[in-house]
Amino acid sequence: MAKLTIDGGAIEVADGTSLFDACRLARGEALPHFCYHPDLSIAGVCRLCQVEVEGMPKLTIACNTTVRDGMVVHTRSEKVRKASQQILEMHLINHPVDCPICDQAGECGLQNQYMAYGLYDSQVAESDKVNKAKAQVIGPHVILDKERCVLCSRCVRFCNEVTKTGEMGIFNRGDRAEIGTAPGRELDNAYSVNTVDICPVGALTSRDFRFQKRVWMLKSADGVCAGCATGCNVRVDHEAGRVYRLKPRRNAQVNGSWMCDEGRLTYKDVHADDRLVEPSWRGQAVTWADAKARLAEVAVGGFALVVGSAHQSLEELGLLKLVAPGAVFSGGLAGSDMGVGDDLLRSADRTPNRRGLQLAGLPEHDAAALAVLVRAAKGAILVHGGDPAAAPEVAAALAGRQDVVYVGTHRRATAQAATLALPGATWAEKAGIFVNRQGRAQAFAQAVARPGQAREDWRVLAELLPATAAAPASLKALREAVRAQLGLGIDLDRLPADGALTGGEA
């Protein structure tokens, strides 16, 4: 442990901690910085995090200094203030200040730090600034504006260190130095939009989000990416009932600071045109009151077969077992929703909760086996989420049956095949828990309102409960019931910020 004094206050940190982190702890806020990033190597190029260390002849950058016992550090002295102001002025010499058309405005490092540490009058006329290329498409997801760049090199380090693809670099020297892709190459790796996230200014912008919304209008909810079994922690940015983008939320245990480009686009499914937004009886839209009456007709003898899905939350899967205690259970199609994985973040398994399915004890079946189960069912069939009828065998088995109830979110094959289709909520429209491939239970919060007459799935399922079972009064009560049912040793209603392991094999 190293004891040091920062701005007159004593603080004790572990040996080997960077002075930057120690200052963040002591000050309650980070030092001004552009190039420092916790998940990238230290570059020390922006020179903004300079602090005064007693005994050192000149100011030193905190990010590249390791703490030493007995250090006396000043981060708010006049010398430091002046230095950071002047460095900032230097960064802004050739900046075009086109904030009105810049997507970064509102979450921009230059804006924030100018307001916090700058506030000087510019000495550079706009006509004297060096002009560089604007709005260059450098990849399928990213647009580059070279004028806005402050050459922090975060994107270069990301491509070199994280994806190890090395598309980007800094070219030329002096005030002609500019960021760019290597000749003949595109920024087309599977994680390219992370460069947009880490870019402290508006040099790199996302083509998907570009001009869709000013960032200060967005509200955020903490979510978990439903794109694959990795379960990257995300921030769901939304406004007026619409999700506009997903951004990674740092969780060192799961995804670090990153997420894949594919996962970022999963929000589009939430606003898809084929969303199931009202109950439908044999293809005809009905009211919930009517749907309930029809339900009593269909499920008069209880459910004989219950098919779950790895797309549903852990709570819903637990509740599913209570709906029909005596029924045959299936977890849906084995091997469905598989894609290409890699050893960085992406899993080949493109479902968010296959581990949850296993925890809840819902075995998956291949298409043929599921078709056999469907044919063998002597009572009504309940399908919750997923799209098992996408498999022709299952669709054939379901065809002609008049007792299939589907609770789901999209009007796809299973919804078409069902006698009664009830609209549920997607991950953005409800709260719940996914168990990722590590067996880590992670909670996600509701971001936007449900469209049309869609309801939270657990409330829909609670309607289907037999008269003998008591419906859970709240999500909290449901979580407690599921915890008891699955014999989990963790409090599902108060999961830690980085999730909790459910045990079992990883």
Binding site: D98, C99, P100, I101, A105, A133, K134, A135, R210, F211, Q212, R214, W216, M217
Partner: protein
Amino acid sequence: MSFEGLPKGSTDGRRSPLESIYLWEVVKGLAVTGRHLVHNIFHTGEMPTMQYPEEKRVYGERFRGRHRLMQREDGTPRCVACQMCSTYCPADCIHITAAEHPDPAIEKYPATFDIDLLRCVYCGLCEEACPCDAIRLDTGIYEIAADSREKFVVDKEFLLNERTRGTR
């Protein structure tokens, strides 16, 4: 208690016997209103009433009337869809959707720019917020009337057109 500052005739609760009878005060009041009545019957021209559609008040140069959008030299809007105005707008009456402009020097332009004149409070904050001097309230138009709510929602083409009046 001090009686300074009270208007002449104020008694602060103390009345002379004549005043306390009240009837005489009523007659005095009637005389005042009667004087106005008779004076106005014989001097109709002196009344400050303005016969509105025929006579119109001349407003100051800084009067904030209906908005207009300023044009570039080629007739396209100056607006770059930064949405400062809609952010600042206390009435939430400006709705802009931005789009990518084919010219990278312009980069961003408003695909739609709608103002709900019914919601607008004509505070002029949009004008203040605009970094491009693209929106102004200097048309002097204040006769904004229509027979349906939809007609009060004016679009980009309407606001750019210098010949439009009032509403759609």
